[in-house]
Subunit: 291 residues, 2 copies
């Protein structure tokens, strides 16, 4: 090595490298300041404990969840199960028993809440075209779609949780729930009540063997996974409560995250996409120590 180059190399080695600015979506999430995050209330977390171990946690959305909270507090789902797993579609759980008596206060046929008005809702637009809706974006930490008639719905993205129902217009009372485990089935938007999203343990649903019967149902009494109990996190002792934060869509970190989701330029990439699908930019959620 020529001497000058050697000296330069020495000089460079002696100075610690300046920290690289975050470049990939995970790096941006990891670097986001505390101000970019909002806590998820413990009463909005549904904690599903499986028989034999393992846990899935669902964050409830601010719609249609009164029934679900009552079902959880009454112990309705103790001894229930995941009984349907359809590849590239959904994993569904609950009692699979429409004769089971409902706990007090649970409404058997709640009014349909598939959409709400956009009035008064601050939507942070995604900024890219969507094949299903007039526009898509984020509101209150959730992915949403707005339609020509001004109505707004949550979107059926991976890990979103909805209420199983029979034929329209039955809304479903919330006892049978499903999580999306494949390509976003957006045709269900406005047709099923979405009530939340899995924020931890989706792989305990998505990696289950697919059911052998039509629509992924398991055969006869067999189930994919037994559920020991389902509680609201607020019902757990404070020290044992799982706690999560969701990134605010109004934060600069979220703007940077979305930009990198649409324009990957880290070393692996040759061409930046220049756009992103609403379901390929999940709102970041992180686990935090119990409060």
């Amino acid at each position: 090595m020529p001497i000058l180059a050697s000296l330069l190399a020495l000089t460079q080695a002696a100075q610690p490298a300046a920290p690289k600015p975050p470049r990939t979506p995970p790096e941006i999430v990891a670097a986001a300041p505390a101000s970019a995050w909002a806590p998820i209330p413990a009463e909005d977390l549904l904690v599903i404990d499986y028989a034999g171990g393992g846990r899935t946690v669902v964050q409830l959305a601010p719609v249609h969840v009164a029934n679900i909270r009552r079902l959880a507090t009454s112990g309705y789902w103790s001894g229930s199960a995941i009984y349907r797993v359809q590849d590239n579609y959904v994993a569904q759980w609950g009692t699979n028993d429409d004769k089971k008596p409902l706990p007090a206060g649970v409404v058997a046929r709640p009014p349909a809440e598939y959409v709400r008005s956009a009035a008064g809702l601050a939507i942070r637009p995604l900024g890219f075209a969507d094949p299903y809706a007039a526009r898509v974006g984020f509101a209150g930490g959730w992915p949403v779609a707005q339609y020509k008639d001004g109505s707004v719905s949550l979107t059926h993205c991976y890990s979103m949780v909805g209420v199983g129902r029979d034929l329209s217009p039955d809304t479903g009372m919330g006892g049978e729930l499903y999580a999306v485990i494949g390509q976003a089935p957006r045709q269900l938007d406005r047709n099923i009540a979405l009530v939340g999203r899995v924020v931890e343990g989706i792989e305990l649903m998505s990696a289950l063997p697919r059911g052998s019967e039509a629509m992924g149902f398991y055969k006869g009494p067999a189930v994919a996974r037994k559920i020991a109990q389902v509680r609201l996190a607020s019902a757990l002792p404070a020290a044992e409560r799982p706690a999560f934060e969701v990134m605010k869509e109004t934060s600069p970190s979220f703007a940077a995250y979305l930009d990198r989701r649409a324009n990957r330029d880290d070393d692996f990439y040759k061409v930046a996409a220049g756009g992103v699908d609403i379901c390929n930019a999940p709102v970041p959620v992180r686990r935090v120590p119990a409060r």
Copy 2:
């Protein structure tokens, strides 16, 4: 029951009901005439047999597959494995050994074939907006995206198969492959060579336990599923060859299928979406008896 109604009921019962026209996408696929289907050549089918049973079949696309055919005919993948399963992303298989000698005729660094020119390619447009590309559609039985510069790529939809590679611009020689098992990671379009799609047995990949290490890799020597052998279907005895057909995108059945994918109006649905994502309208493929 009033007498008139009873008589009407009797009359109706005595006449066989007129067959209902197919209404859902699966009904349209089931009713499609033979003329709507094109056979997949046996040399375009990669048959993956797992140790311990089970089979996944991949249809090879007409790009970048010379290496893959040679790897299959040489037995390169005997004793390989699925060694990476990342939730909502990919399952990856191969030797996971970049020191393994290449069979004769395999090109170590093939030229990048991420895109081709749209010239001479008949694209049947999907007809709905796409967040990633100028337009999307179907060509030769495959989902494709066309960009502003006129280039065309296959799209990273659920079950599509691509070539694992190191940092750009390494193309990957085809020994390590992956299948998409979650929301379409379209940011990979034009950045990775797509070479096919799983046409049977995707659930033997998508339902595997997720790997515990970064990017879903399995820890140490552990693997998700061992592969006994990988062959082209054309190498199997004729009577044992799995055979498939793909729906022609030029057929009236495909037009009807797409229309119902975008506008579900069967009894479950309250509102038709009025659009569909390219990855939520997979080209129908069906198994047929061995030829």
